[in-house]
């Protein structure tokens, strides 16, 4: 104890050697302050979205706002999951304009089918994207063939064109293929959107894998497919997961193409149906927010689940710049 006492009160001459307490405290305070700001900014809006989705319409539109749900209710979510069950006849119809009455957007029963569509499209895109970009990235990164650079640049160049610029011709192409309003149209489109970036990620990652491993595999008896499967696939897991997550999230989020290429509940994805609520005659804020929460859950789960891989997977691609 006394030893500690001593150290805390050093002779004046040795003050310079003392651990600087004040700056460390300052650093702690600074970090805490910044962290608080960060949390408020990043999580605040989503927290408010979730909070209002658990309120009734009256509570959600109260002035001043209810920061937390006064009596949390799952009614909005229930409405979403029950929307398809209702059969409408003269007897069971709701009188009055739903615009101000029932507070349930007419597109509500499309929400679950669109959730399914989004999932189906996302999973297909993720899977096919992986297959396509894996093979292409392998070929470009590993095999020395004529036109290799040209292929790479062409692939990357397709992403320089803004989506909105592709929308018109793509609509015409998809129409010519007879694929308007099909999930296949979305899958193919999203592949084209995501593949260049995932190829880029994978190439960067592949280039980090020692060339000698490739040579060893080849002389050990692997063809190109074998080398890809036996060496590159198992060794680039983080990049693969990052690419997969990226592909899924992109197709989950995508809006412009889906807006133009789909027409009804058979192919519409979640963003389209939700944007419909906002522009509908009916706007129930609490309901729309509940739909928003549903749309956020899968990608957030995915992102948090694969957090480690996303960062390390991006690493190779990023730092080379």
């Amino acid at each position: 104890m006394s030893g500690a006492e001593d150290r805390r009160a050093p002779p004046p001459g040795r003050a310079a050697a003392r651990r600087p307490v004040a700056p460390r405290l300052g650093r702690g305070l600074l970090l805490a302050a910044f962290s608080l700001l960060f949390v408020l900014y990043v999580a605040g809006p989503v927290a408010w979205l979730v909070s209002s989705s658990l309120q009734t319409e009256a509570q959600a539109t109260a002035v001043p706002p209810n920061w937390l749900p006064p009596e949390p209710t799952l009614a909005n979510f229930e409405a979403i999951f029950r929307a398809a069950e209702r059969v409408v006849t003269y007897e069971t119809r709701r009188q009055g304009d739903p615009a101000t009455g029932g507070f349930l957007p007419t597109g509500a029963q499309n929400l679950l089918p669109s959730l399914r569509n989004s999932l189906v499209v996302g999973l297909w895109v993720a899977a096919l994207n992986l297959l396509l970009s894996l093979t292409a990235a392998y070929a470009i990164a590993v095999i020395d063939f004529r036109g290799r650079r040209a292929t790479l640049y062409t692939v990357l160049a397709t992403r320089v064109i803004p989506d909105i610029a592709l929308v018109v011709p793509l609509f015409l192409v998809i129409r010519a293929l007879g694929l308007i309003n099909s999930l296949a149209a979305l899958v193919v489109t999203y592949l084209a959107v995501t593949v260049p970036f995932t190829i880029f990620i994978l190439i960067s990652y592949f280039e980090g894998i020692p060339r000698d491993l490739y040579r060893a595999a080849r002389v050990d008896g692997c063809g190109h497919w074998g080398a890809l499967r036996q060496v590159y696939l198992p060794l680039s897991l983080p990049a693969l997961v990052a690419a997969l997550t990226f592909a899924f999230l992109t197709s989950w989020n995508e809006f412009v193409f889906a807006l133009v290429l789909t027409q009804n509940v058979e192919a519409q994805t979640l963003p389209i149906v939700i944007s419909g609520f906002v522009m509908d005659f009916t706007t129930s804020f609490s309901f729309v927010n509940a739909a928003g929460v549903i749309a956020i859950v899968p990608p957030v789960l995915l992102a948090v689940l694969f957090q480690r891989y996303i960062v390390s997977g991006l690493t190779a691609g990023a730092v080379k710049g």
Binding site: D212, R215, A216, A217, R218, V219, G223, G226, V231, L235
Partner: protein, 351 residues
């Protein structure tokens, strides 16, 4: 086991020629070393033999069979790399077994072959480990195991010892030599280390700029370097080179004069003298005197940097038993038969 024949083998990358019309025959069971500085085309040659790169021109024959367009996995060659190139996600056992699995060898056969190879390389106790748990020497043994477990047409080695420390390098060197004796297989070994080349090779191909400079036994290359480059590349410390011209059947440079009976007069030449080719002065030797500038004792030998006649600076091995001091004079004898003469323009050997 195979004889490997390269006929006019050429490799170009765009405008750059990495290998220019290589003609090389490697006999069955021969230990061929490709020696040269980096970028000389030796690794390209190895890759072409392995099939890892495709030739721009020329042919490659294994036992008379044209394999030029055969991909590596159909060529039955085994390869060992400087970086060991072990599959990090596989155990030692699986690493060694990998080529066999690809060939659909029956399970029992694989087990037996891997064990045998592991015993031979004294790594049987490591079979369950993963590569990152091994030391460098152990890793290279595993890599060797992966090569010898099959029955390849040839063993290709790409600077396999360069990543090891000096002591380990020596023991691995003798291990490889032993393997060659046991297997009696064709070895093609790429290195930039002349000592490895000299100790291991049946024949050495010294390469530079995509061309073979000299193809000969180690002794031949050391004794009769075909040109200035080969002379300079082999030997440690390197050969002393002195520019001068031939006059009256002798090499002349200012006051320095050394007999060169067979050279034609008037030629601009470079004279080569290996540091180790000097002895205590004797009547049949030509005397060479100078002042010692720096002494480098290596234990077994002592070398001295000497400022010699005609403004030359020479590195000489101090004859056994001598004591020299910096700043003192020294006089040694040179056997004229051990002098090398090169044409200065063509850099080729004259005598």
């Amino acid at each position: 086991m195979a004889t490997i024949v390269c006929e006019g083998l050429t490799k170009r990358y765009g405008a750059v020629t990495a290998l220019e019309a290589l003609d090389l025959t490697i006999a069955h069971g021969e230990f061929m070393v490709l020696l040269g500085p980096s970028g000389c085309g030796k690794t390209t040659t190895l890759n072409l033999i392995a099939g890892l790169e495709e030739a721009s021109a020329g042919r490659l024959l294994f036992d008379g069979r044209d394999v030029t367009w055969l991909p590596p996995h159909r060529r039955e060659v085994a390869m060992v790399f400087q970086s060991y190139a072990l599959y990090p996600n596989k155990t030692v056992f699986e690493n060694i077994a990998f080529p066999l699995r690809l060939r659909r060898t029956p399970r029992a056969g694989i087990e037996r072959a891997v064990r045998a190879a592991a015993e031979q390389l004294e790594i049987a106790h490591l079979l369950d480990r993963r590569p990152h748990q091994l030391s460098g020497g152990q890793r290279q043994r595993v890599a060797l195991g992966r090569a010898i477990v099959r029955n390849p047409a040839a063993f290709l080695m790409d600077e396999p010892l360069s990543n090891l420390d000096a002591a380990l390098r020596l023991s691995m060197r003798s291990l490889i030599k032993r393997l060659h004796h046991q297997l009696r297989a064709t070895f093609v070994y790429v290195t930039h280390d002349q000592a490895e080349a000299m100790t291991l090779a049946d024949r050495i191909a010294v390469m530079r700029g995509g061309l073979i400079q000299q193809l000969d036994t180690p002794e031949g290359i050391y004794e009769r370097p075909a040109n200035l480059f080969v002379a300079g590349f082999l030997g440690s410390p390197p050969i002393n080179l002195i520019e001068g011209r031939i006059e009256d059947g002798a090499f002349r440079r200012a006051e320095l004069r050394l007999p060169a009976p067979r050279a034609e007069p008037g030629r601009e030449v470079v004279l080569g003298l290996r540091p180790e080719d000097v002895e205590a002065p004797a009547p049949h030797l030509i005397p060479l005197a100078g002042r010692v500038e720096l002494v480098s004792p290596l234990g077994s030998d002592t070398y001295a940097e000497v400022s010699g006649p005609a403004g030359t600076s020479l590195t000489l091995r101090v004859p056994k038993g001598w004591r020299v001091r910096e700043g003192e004079g020294i006089e040694v004898g040179v056997d004229p038969a051990r002098l090398h003469l090169f044409d200065r323009a063509s850099e080729r050997r004259i005598a």
